[in-house]
Amino acid sequence: MNSNTQTLPRAWLADLPLWTICAPIIAGIILGAASFGFGSSGISIGVIAVALAGSVFAAVHHAKVVAHRVGEPYGTLVLALAVTLIEVALIVSLMIAGGSEAAALACDTVLAAVMIILNGIIGLCLLLGGLRHRQQTFSLDGVSAALVALAAIAVLALVFPNYTVTTPGPYYSPGQLMLIAVVSLAIYGAFVFAQTIGHRGIFVEDEPRSPASD
């Protein structure tokens, strides 16, 4: 991935198709029209949903281009930051709009993301790679680091609140919520530090063993 850091600005512009620039603008126009009251019928809600999806995909595409330019270990950080921003913005706006019904939205979203990554994406990678190369090898150190961080954060944030007794039910008290926020940030920070500065070598794909899946 480091190979295209040398490309010319013109080639870089070619990575940005027209729709990635048009989609957010069109979405903004549609949003403006909707806020002036052209909304609330089924068709216009569908149009708004398509515009939202289009601008999200455009934003992710922009982040992908930037990540490509930045290179291997830091590029994943750019992508993670972009996706987190989009996700938090969507969750918070839905929670503000939805009231008490939408309170469980955050944990459902995070659970769905974890399940898609762990089972869907890794499963698909292993299945397709297995069909193509019969047996795949990959960097064990990188996998172990990512899995350790993911497992700790997922269980602490999603399973643990059911068993705390200060506030019964699937809730954390404000103090506990702060603790969990700090703890997940610490785990994620340690992971990012290992990925970029501390043990950069185990996360960057080594050239001879190319059929890696992670």
Partner: protein
Amino acid sequence: MTIPAVSVLSLYMHIGLVLGIDTKSTVLLVLSLFITAIALRTGRTIVLHGIVLLVIFVVYLFTTVIP
């Protein structure tokens, strides 16, 4: 990184935040963490591991629609 952001925002804006998942999802989450850890343990994987992980994913999707 979503968890800290959402937690701090919910504290700041006084929105109730449900973080716990139900028992069914807990079992599936722990199962998939366990299976992933075993499947990726050796550094070499074959088609079987992928099929098992995808099956768990399908079960998760199915039980989300029909709990």
